[in-house]
């Protein structure tokens, strides 16, 4: 009771482009998002350790909780997302309190 099924989208990507992705999430109808800092990460580009002046090796994690429709829209428009070179995009199921917040 009082729990509503929604989707969690989590994107790991370089910090310098994060604003483009959050603006795009806004466009697709996300009601909000949260950006977390990353200390260090490894992937195909090798090690990316935060703190180089200019911040070009900083990563962030973008967390966005959305309704199924918005999640579908994200998947459908993923081509647009992919030009921002997100490293990792995961989508998973979750329940939220107060479902009215994520239309």
């Amino acid at each position: 009771m009082a729990l509503h099924a929604r989707k969690r989208i989590e994107i790991v990507m370089e910090a310098v482009r994060a604003e483009q992705v959050t603006a795009w999430l806004d466009q697709l109808g996300a009601t909000g998002w949260t950006v977390l800092p990353v200390k260090v990460g490894r992937g195909r580009q090798g090690l990316r350790r935060a703190g180089v002046p200019g911040g070009i090796f900083d990563n962030v994690v973008i967390l966005c909780v959305v309704s199924d429709e918005v999640a579908e829209r994200v998947v459908r428009h993923q081509e647009e997302l992919l030009v921002a070179k997100p490293a990792i995009v995961t989508i998973s199921d979750c329940y939220v309190l107060r479902g009215d917040r994520f239309v």
């Binding site: 482009r17 795009w24 911040g55 070009i56 647009e80 070179k85």
Partner: protein, 326 residues
């Protein structure tokens, strides 16, 4: 011997050695940012105050013009060299060449520190030349990458589309460092001698210490960058990272002579032309030319050209300026 190497540069060597030995020495990220803010403010205040003294603006316009022209043209030279002698793709070559037209604030700060320690004066307006040289090279780089960029623009709707040139120029001109440098310059100039005196213990007395800590960080970062990206640079690219600053520096020396700067001014003009950006331009290129290989341009400018300039370039250009300026 000890007199020839300014002590702050020894901290660069210490940082590089620590990273090479795989020490875990780390400066907090916010300390590095704080130091770069400090250097900008201190350089700006000092330049502005110097500009306020009678006759100090003589030669300003010539120097600014020379700087802007060099920043516009050096990338063309760099691009031609890279396309002839390396196997970089067009977009990466363009991005790299943008770095070499633009400038490095810390290289400039180190040169100022060395001139001060040697008692060699220089024109107070040189920080304004530094600021003027930061941006034009970016325009040239984007024009050089032209084809690649145009192809990209077709899917410009998504969040990862390359940033268009006007937006990018606005961003770079309003880039934090430039605003801080020019703003402090204006404040130093407007505030005159009372402002200089009030800020002296902060902006002048602490300068060598702050520069030393920043060079320590740069040594760590440069050596770690070399190790993090071992396969990124082949011998030809490495050679480019050493030859290009020599070409740039020589052109800067000539330009400084041409516009009639003093010994210190000519040396600084050479240092600016020889230096490669590793803060503002990499960030701009990451936005504008997303397909260019960031590993190449960061490593070249940060881990090859920056150390070369700090350790060898600055003494070379000071000595050369002393020889050529009658």
């Amino acid at each position: 011997m000890a007199e020839l190497i300014p002590p702050p540069i020894l901290f660069f060597v210490l940082g590089a050695a620590a990273a090479a030995l795989r020490s875990d020495l780390h400066l907090p990220e916010s300390l590095a940012k704080t130091l770069s803010i400090y250097l900008m403010v201190a350089i700006g205040l000092k330049g502005g105050a110097a500009l306020g003294t009678p006759g100090a603006s003589e030669g300003l316009w010539g120097a600014l013009g020379a700087g802007v022209v060099l920043s516009f043209l050096l990338p063309i030279l760099a691009f031609a060299l890279l396309r002839a002698a390396s196997s970089l793709d067009r977009e990466t070559a363009a991005a790299v060449s943008g770095h070499y037209g633009s400038v490095s604030v810390v290289t400039f700060a180190t040169a100022i520190g060395t001139l001060n320690a040697l008692g060699l004066p220089h024109e107070g307006f040189m920080p304004a030349v530094l600021a003027a040289m930061e941006t034009p090279a970016i325009v040239t780089a984007l024009l050089l990458a032209n084809g690649a960029v145009r192809r990209h623009r077709n899917r410009a709707s998504g969040p990862g589309a390359p940033t268009p040139l006007p937006v990018l120029l606005r961003e770079v001109l309003l880039n934090g460092s430039i605003v801080l440098l020019l703003g402090s310059f204006a404040i130093g100039w407007f505030g005159g001698e009372p402002a200089r005196a009030q800020f002296a213990p902060f902006a002048e007395a602490l300068f060598p210490g702050a520069l030393a800590l920043f060079l320590l960080e740069m040594g760590l970062v440069a050596a770690r960058q070399i190790r993090a990206a071992p396969g990124v640079l082949d011998a030809r690219l490495f050679a480019f990272g050493l030859v290009m600053p020599l070409i740039g520096g020589a052109l800067g020396l000539g330009a400084g002579l041409l516009v009639g700067l003093s010994v210190g001014g000519v040396a600084l003009m050479a240092v600016l032309s020889a230096s490669a950006s590793y803060i503002a331009v990499p960030a701009a290129m990451r936005m504008a030319l997303p397909k260019a290989d960031a590993g190449v341009y960061v490593t070249l400018s940060l881990a090859v050209t920056f150390p070369f300039n700090v350790v060898a370039g600055i003494p070379i250009w000071i000595a050369a300026a002393q020889m050529v300026v009658g």
